[in-house]
Structures are given as structure tokens and as C-alpha cells.
């Protein structure tokens, strides 16, 4: 009896020590959580999540102050990636923060622009160039389509257009030729 207890205890101590040692020896040096979250976020810097940029939102998620479904540009795929990273259930996008929509870029109607610089101050990624009383223009390669420049414009000369139209932004269609109905498990009536 006493031998059995001793043997099991010794085994427990031994295995526990082994586990502890492996935990130290093979520790995974994960990048800090905020960086990992920030890498998933789309970097639109649109502030639709309620925070002044993607990184502040990442910090809020890491602290537990924000949910993972507040980023409309990241959409369902982004929420899924965050859920995978954090080991949580994915959930639908919180509609109070906006809708998921195709990528867009801002375009300034240069005929109408009065050169007030308000949009330049609003742009979170310095994608608008111009000077007071001179025409402004958007660097479409740098524009994230965040919408933040649209509201400040006093003459409504900024329009959001679909990003990447033409051959460069073409998306291959899903093959559909002579497809049978989707392959499903038992159909439940």
C-alpha cells in the first residue's frame, strides 16, 4: 500500500518535473499579442471600430476592452483570423460599426476642390497631397479607402470609387462550368 502511494507520488513528481522542464526548454517565443493582432487588422486606419487606428484597436482587443467583431474592412475573414489567433468563436460583424464592402479609394474632383487642406489633416496615412488654396490630389497607391476625408470636405468634392478596377485588380471568377449542385452532407429538409 505505502509502496504504491510512494511510487505513484514519485512518478507524479518526476513527470511534473519533466513537464516543467519542457515548458521552459521549448517555450514558444510568440510575438507580443498586440503585434500579432495588428498584423491581422487591415491597416485601413478608418477608426470605424471606435479607436483612432488599427493599432489602438489591437491594443484594446489585447486588453480585453474591445470585441473582435468591430472591424468592417477586415470583414468576416478578418474576424475569423482574430478568432483563430485568440482561440475564440468567430461571430458576425457588429453592424453598429459599419458594413463589409469591397475596397475603395478616394478620388478628389479637382474642378471643385478649393484647397482648404481639411482632408489632408484628416487623412490617417498622409495619402493626400496639396497646399492651402491649391488643388489637392489623392495618392491612390497609399489610400486605404477609410472615408475619413469625405466628411470634412466643405464642398463635397471627394468621392469614394472602387479600388483596383481593370485588369490589374481583376478577380478570377469561381469556376462554374456544368457544375452539379454543391456537394453536401445529408440534406436536412
Amino acid at each position: 500500500m505505502i509502496e504504491a502511494v510512494l511510487a505513484l507520488s514519485a512518478l507524479g513528481v518526476l513527470l511534473g518535473a519533466l513537464l516543467g522542464w519542457t515548458a521552459v526548454r521549448f517555450r514558444r517565443e510568440d510575438a507580443p499579442l498586440v503585434d500579432a493582432i495588428d498584423r491581422i487588422l487591415p491597416q485601413t486606419q478608418c477608426a470605424q471600430c471606435g479607436f483612432p487606428g488599427c493599432r489602438p484597436y489591437a491594443q484594446a482587443i489585447a486588453r480585453g476592452d474591445a470585441d473582435i467583431n468591430q472591424c468592417p474592412p477586415g470583414g468576416a475573414a478578418g474576424i475569423q483570423a482574430l478568432a483563430d489567433l485568440l482561440g475564440r468563436e468567430a461571430k458576425p460583424l457588429d453592424a453598429t460599426h459599419g458594413r463589409e464592402q469591397p475596397a475603395r479609394v478616394a478620388w478628389i474632383d479637382e474642378e471643385v476642390c478649393i484647397g482648404c487642406t481639411k482632408c489632408i489633416q484628416a487623412c490617417p496615412v498622409d495619402a493626400i497631397i496639396g497646399a492651402p488654396k491649391l488643388m489637392h490630389t489623392v495618392l491612390i497607391d497609399a489610400c486605404t479607402g477609410c472615408d475619413l476625408c469625405v466628411a470634412p470636405c466643405p464642398v463635397d468634392c471627394i468621392h469614394m470609387l472602387p479600388a483596383c478596377s481593370g485588369i490589374a485588380g481583376w478577380r478570377a471568377p469561381r469556376p462554374t462550368a456544368a457544375r452539379l449542385p454543391n456537394i453536401d452532407f445529408l440534406r436536412v429538409p
Binding site: 469556376p175 449542385p181 456537394i183 453536401d184 452532407f185 445529408l186 440534406r187
Partner: protein, 338 residues
């Protein structure tokens, strides 16, 4: 004036093959063996094949209907008849009709459609059906006619056996060479003694001729590129690797590799059952290892397991690890190191 055309992806010409053609070739390749079996065992085998096909197609149609899938392309792909024929080949020719019904229900409903239908089954449907009836109805499945003498039943007796419930095993049944081997080795006899037994010799010879018939069909399938050489070669290698050391260690108590290769369903399995692409491995080295596993397990089960032949169990066990083999044994990509 410019003319508009419908777009479509390359390649633009259709494939010259189809699932139906592949399955048809498998059925054709089984013919020599079926003919030879029928000559020796009588028309009972043909009756079993017909029964299995009917039940398989009924089950297939019912499941397609239930799952809301189109009937025409899937009923005509011939995959259910292939399952049915392979299953029927494992049955004694006078097995009662409900054996085929239960076997095909298990194969088509359980092993095939509950996993998603054609192309999605993890386990070989024919072998699942066979194992279900083998475990559930050992007595009916164990009753094989003697390979030795003119053992074909007359049609009346046969019909009575299959549909009437009258089983003639007391009168006609005789152990297969594998049964004999298993039983008598267990009684402490040596191989030499068993081999010289009256029924054994001629039965074994007939078994070898049958193996040659399966081999003929299998080689044609290889030539037609329906199956890959890795599987049969793997099976043979697996059998030899396990059987040869045992035989060399004590030839008196262990059968030779050649006996294992030529008896029972080894050749049939190597070319027709283990080569089922859906439930087998898909990478070249994976197929080799898959076949070797089937061969090795088969010999081990024959020698140490509870059943005289182990092919069905060996195939199902290897089915379970096939996806893992594929993952481990991915081929080297052109221009990359492994």
C-alpha cells in the same frame, strides 16, 4: 462586325476519359476471374453478383434521392456495380440473398453516402460491406464449396439455398486451403503433412489458377493506366517482407511467401481492392507504403488473427492511415529540394 464569344478556361478540349469509363474498365478486368470462378463454382457467383448489383443500385438511388443529388450522373457512373461485384466475389456462391442485401446496405449507405458519396468515402465500401456480414454471419460466410471436385450445385439446390433458406453446408461445404492451413497448424501438424492431404493439393492449384486470372485483369488495368503499379508491388513486398522471415525461420510451421501470394484473395486485393483510389493513398510513395501495409497486415492476420483471410481488415486499417501517408510522403516539386 466583331463577333462575341463565350469565355472559358483552358484546356478547351474535353478529357477523353470519365468516371464511367474507369469503372467499366475495372469491371471488364474482373471478367477472366469471374469466368473461371463460375466454371468451378457454378452459376452461384453470377447470382450473387446480380443480387449485389440490384441491392447496391437500389441503395444508391435511395440515398441520392434522400440527399437531393441528381440521379442520372451518379447512377450511371458504375461505381456502385464495382462495389457490388467486388463484394459478391467475397461471398460463398450459395449465401442467402439477405447477406447481399445487408452487405450492400452497409457498403452504400454507411461506408459511401454517410461520408458524402462518390469520392468522399474514407473506407473501401465493398470491404466495409464484407466485414459487416463476415462478423455478423460467420457461419453463412464460412461455408465455401469444395474447390476440389465438381462441386457446382444444380440450379434447383442453389435457388433453394439462396432464396429458400435451405443451407447445404453439411453436405457440400469444405474448408478452403486457408481454413485448412489455419485449423491444422493449430492442431500441431506440419505444413508438409497438410499439403499432402487429399483435398488441399488440388484446391490450392485451382486457387493459383484463379490468382493468375485476377493477375491477367490487373495487368490490363495497369496497361490502361487505371491503377498505379505502386499498390500491387507494395502488397507483394509487404507479404514477402513479413512471410519470408517466418518461413525461413521455420518452414514447417509457416507458409511460404508464394503460398500467401497465390492463395485466398491476395491477388484480387492487390489489383482490385487495395487499388481503390478514393479510399487509398494518392501520392506515389504513399501508395507503395499503403500496399505494403495491406500485404504485411494480411499475412499477420492470417497467421495470428481470428480469421482465415485478413485482406478485408488489412485494407480497412490501411484506409484509415492513407491520408496521413499522403501528408508525410508528398513528392518533391520540380525545381525544389525535398
Amino acid at each position: 462586325m466583331a463577333r462575341e464569344f463565350r469565355l472559358g478556361g483552358a484546356p478547351h478540349l474535353p478529357a477523353s476519359t470519365s468516371v464511367q469509363k474507369v469503372m467499366l474498365k475495372v469491371l471488364l478486368a474482373l471478367l477472366p476471374g469471374i469466368v473461371l470462378s463460375t466454371l468451378w463454382f457454378g452459376v452461384g457467383l453470377l447470382l450473387q453478383i446480380a443480387l449485389a448489383c440490384v441491392f447496391a443500385l437500389l441503395a444508391e438511388a435511395a440515398m441520392l434521392q434522400l440527399r437531393g443529388r441528381p440521379l442520372r450522373p451518379f447512377m450511371s457512373d458504375l461505381s456502385a456495380p464495382v462495389t457490388a461485384v467486388l463484394f459478391a466475389l467475397c461471398l460463398p456462391p450459395w449465401a442467402p440473398w439477405w447477406i447481399a442485401a445487408i452487405g450492400m446496405l452497409s457498403a452504400i449507405v454507411l461506408a459511401k453516402h454517410l461520408y458524402g458519396g462518390l469520392g468522399y468515402n474514407v473506407f473501401n465500401p465493398a470491404m466495409v460491406g464484407y466485414v459487416v456480414v463476415l462478423i455478423a454471419f460467420t457461419r453463412e460466410l464460412g461455408a465455401w464449396p469444395a474447390l476440389a471436385a465438381g462441386s457446382a450445385l444444380d440450379p434447383g439446390t442453389l435457388l433453394h439455398a439462396v432464396f429458400g433458406g435451405g443451407q447445404p453446408w453439411d453436405a457440400m461445404a469444405q474448408a478452403t486451403p486457408l481454413d485448412t492451413l489455419r485449423e491444422q497448424l493449430g492442431q500441431g501438424r506440419t505444413l508438409a503433412e497438410i499439403r499432402s492431404g487429399p483435398a488441399f493439393a488440388s484446391a490450392a492449384v485451382r486457387g493459383e489458377w484463379l490468382a493468375l486470372a485476377w493477375l491477367l485483369g490487373g495487368l490490363w488495368l495497369l496497361q490502361q493506366r487505371v491503377i498505379h503499379w505502386q499498390v500491387p508491388v507494395g502488397v507483394a513486398a509487404g507479404v514477402i517482407v513479413v512471410a519470408a522471415p517466418l518461413w525461413l525461420y521455420d518452414a514447417g510451421r509457416h507458409a511460404s511467401p508464394l503460398f500467401h501470394l497465390s492463395s485466398g484473395a491476395t491477388v484480387l486485393a492487390a489489383f482490385f481492392i487495395a487499388t481503390d483510389p478514393v479510399s487509398g493513398a494518392a501520392t506515389p510513395r504513399g501508395r507503395l507504403l499503403f500496399g505494403a501495409g495491406v500485404g504485411a497486415l494480411c499475412v499477420l492476420i492470417r497467421r495470428y488473427g481470428a480469421y482465415p483471410d485478413g485482406i478485408a481488415f488489412a485494407v480497412l486499417l490501411m484506409n484509415a492511415v492513407a491520408p496521413l501517408l499522403d501528408r508525410w510522403l508528398r513528392p518533391r516539386v520540380f525545381g525544389r529540394s525535398r
